[in-house]
């Protein structure tokens, strides 16, 4: 699977083999809030929006309508970079998917409202191995990365890659950074890393290609299957990173050199 960099934006391509009826085909420019509804098998629809902001707004609208009982049974609502997948649509009813497709295409979606709930605070020791690289890309000193990053109001746009791995948006475009040219075979749990428009915190050790700027001292909080919800960073959650002193978190082991190895298979 490739990485999460949002670079594929653009107008819809030419019409291929026709999709089922009721599903939109690309036809000229659309208003940015207008969803493009694509088939994803007999019981699923992939709804494509102009960008991540509109995808988040569309997902919020779906949840509001589900709350009000205005949506047919949908097992999974899966937001991603600029799409929302509706999977497991009323599987007993043969027409349910196409009916919903027609309906979705006509929705007027309200712009995303700013969250007024308190953000989840994620403590970070900003001592990641890519801090210097990120500072250079940002054109600031290494000691300024923590301030810039922790001043940003983030929100979880979507989850993926691993249980509890959230893709957090909020960094302005000038602070977007590319993925590492060589991904690492092992990134330790708790690593706070950047790629494209996103920041993420690795819930457990895994391969990874993002630029690591710091670490969360207690990554166990990110994923707890005994808790509801199991993920700390669920889609829609406002998040703030809070710098903490390496000294104050001294009880916690620093990442070992062996934790950072090069590889080419990483996804995030």
């Amino acid at each position: 699977m490739s990485g999460p960099d949002a670079t594929g934006d653009g107008p819809a391509g030419p019409t291929g083999p026709g999709g089922p009826s009721g599903l939109s085909r690309p036809s000229g420019p659309r208003a940015p809030g207008t969803p493009r509804v694509l088939p994803a098998g007999p019981h699923a629809l992939l709804v494509e929006l102009a960008d991540g902001e509109h995808a988040e707004a569309f997902r919020a609208e779906l949840l509001r309508r589900r709350e009000r009982g205005e949506l047919p049974a949908v097992r999974d609502i899966v937001p991603a970079a600029r799409t929302v997948l509706l999977d497991g649509i009323a599987e007993g009813e043969p027409d349910a998917r196409d009916r919903l497709a027609r309906e979705l295409a006509s929705w007027r979606v309200e712009p995303l409202r700013r969250e007024d709930r308190e953000p989840v605070e994620v403590p970070v020791i900003y001592d990641g191995p890519d801090l210097g690289e990120v500072a250079a890309l940002w054109g600031v000193g290494a000691d300024e990365v923590a301030a810039l990053h922790s001043r940003t109001a983030f929100r979880v746009a979507f989850c993926g890659f691993a249980p509890g791995f959230g893709y957090l948006t909020g960094l302005p475009e000038r602070l977007h950074v590319p993925r590492r040219t060589t991904p690492r075979t092992r990134v330790p749990a708790g690593a706070v890393a950047l790629a494209g428009p996103y920041t993420g915190v690795y819930p457990r050790p895994s391969p990874g290609g993002w630029q690591i700027v710091g670490r969360m001292p207690d990554p166990g909080a990110l994923w707890d299957p005994g808790r509801e919800p199991a993920a700390l960073l669920v889609p829609g959650t406002p998040v703030r990173f809070v710098p903490v002193d390496a000294g104050k978190a001294a009880a916690l082991p620093a990442p070992r050199a062996g934790d950072f190895q090069a590889d080419s298979r990483a996804d995030a």
């Binding site: 999460p4 391509g13 030419p14 291929g16 993926g160 249980p163 919800p229």
Partner: protein, 292 residues
């Protein structure tokens, strides 16, 4: 492990190449990055459960090619179904695909698959390791659920439903392994990222099941599909049965342990009901796609 009163165990004598605990999986958590997992040949797992008197979604063992052997510490009724194989209890041949009595301490051995790929071992009472998000299934991509079996592992066995023998009588229609796998395809969501020639290739080419297939995806050998759009696709949600096309152009059909989001375009989707045959297709099996 110290035996607990009323608690019974299944000891793993021979784990085989890859044996996992599976039930109906954990659908409904994809927005948290949690995949569905669950038995790949779901009808086989359900049938095996029915034959031992379990609810259809009780946890069973799913083997891969080489079978496995286990030893219960209490007498238990078991069924080995799915992929056809030689079944023995303490070395004596017993029925495949039908309930057998395994005495306490005896070894139930499901041999290498003679036809198909994945056998299912169901036990009256089911396997009851701690569930994660409502399921006991191992998810090999995310690591959720019980780890694949190792020699010497102990798995807790549930109590059989009271009410006597399993409700099985007479022959049972276990489907055979496919000599040729024919997978229906619903086009989209990203068929327009491929050339029209590529889509024709998908529907006409002779593919073969690759030995690199696993619980995440059915991989194949055959002609690559050429893309008409070469830019990177931003990550988007992936469904079970999605035919994702990575940069080498060879389609991968996503099976139960597939990632919840992915960044390669999905040319079409194979409906779920067709995937149980895919789960039993051994490497080298001829494979073609037809329009659903």
């Amino acid at each position: 492990m110290i035996p607990v009163a009323g608690r019974h165990l299944l000891y793993v004598v021979r784990p085989g190449a890859l044996t996992t605990v599976q039930d109906a999986g954990r659908p409904g958590h994809a927005h948290l990055g949690v995949g569905r997992a669950g038995a790949l040949d779901a009808p086989a797992a359900r049938l095996a459960n029915r034959l031992v008197g379990n609810p259809p979604d009780a946890a069973v063992l799913e083997t891969t090619l080489t079978g496995c052997a286990v030893r219960p510490d209490r007498p238990v009724v078991a069924v080995v179904g799915g992929a056809g194989c030689r079944v023995t209890v303490d070395g004596r041949p017993v029925a495949w695909g039908a309930p057998v009595r395994v005495p306490a301490g005896a070894v139930l051995d499901a041999g290498p698959a003679g036809t198909g790929l994945r056998s299912y071992l169901a036990f009256a009472g089911g396997l009851v390791p701690d569930p994660v998000l409502g399921s006991r299934s191992a998810d090999l991509l995310s690591g959720l659920g019980p780890a694949p079996l190792s020699e010497g592992d102990e798995l807790p066995l549930g109590e059989p439903a009271s009410g006597g023998p399993p409700p099985h009588a007479g022959p049972v229609p276990w489907p055979g392994a496919p000599a040729e796998l024919v997978l229906p395809v619903h086009p989209g969501p990203r068929h327009d990222w491929f050339t029209e020639a590529a889509f024709r290739t998908l529907l006409t080419a002779a593919y073969r099941v690759s030995p690199h297939s696993n619980r995440i995806g059915l991989r194949m050998e055959g002609p690559p599909l050429e893309r008409s759009r070469t830019e990177e696709l931003p990550s988007e949600g992936m469904v079970l049965g999605a035919i994702q096309v990575p940069p080498d152009g060879r389609p991968v059909v996503f099976l139960n342990d597939h990632p919840t989001t992915g960044g390669y375009p999905v040319v079409g989707v194979v409906p779920e009901r067709a995937l149980s045959a895919a789960a039993q297709a051994v490497p080298g099996t001829r494979l073609r796609f037809v329009r659903a």
